[in-house]
Symmetry: C2
């Protein structure tokens, strides 16, 4: 499914609640999800890892929506190779 | 563009480097990007906010790839309403 359709889906589900809660508080929830994702990785809980990955993605999209970001448009920066070195695969030095 | 196509695009760009670096170190980079995203929000730098949003999404997808997660498959949990209350929009209490 299109990235933008996912963003719209998450908006239908959560935009009203998330925008009422506000940007900073919603960002905190996003960070909380990242913590849960990290814990699932540490515990090597495969089902949980997948669930928490999806939650991180959903909250990131929702934070983006509050900020007025079009996810698809934002991701165009990756469509012409690495935004830093211009190559694909990336040849940047670490 | 499809979410999975974005995941494949990010894999073409970064999977070799990111998987060589390993899961934990790549997760740290992902968290670093979240910090940059947070800073851009604090500074109200619109262009930067969009850039950092995309970077967070790209790194999240790459962490997912290292973990063998299919982003599209993982996101199915949001396709039948809120995974907790089952409603759309979500009616969960905070």
């Amino acid at each position: 499914m299109d990235l933008n359709k996912y963003q719209k889906l998450i908006e239908e589900l959560y935009f009203e609640k998330d925008s009422k809660r506000g940007l900073d508080k919603t960002f905190n929830w996003f960070v909380e999800e990242i913590g849960e994702f990290s814990r699932a990785i540490r515990k090597k809980d495969k089902k949980r890892i997948r669930e928490e990955f999806a939650d991180c993605l959903a909250w990131l999209l929702s934070v983006g929506s509050i900020l007025g970001i079009d996810a698809e448009e934002a991701m165009t920066k990756y469509r012409e190779g690495c935004p830093k070195c211009g190559s694909c695969p990336c040849e940047c030095k670490e």
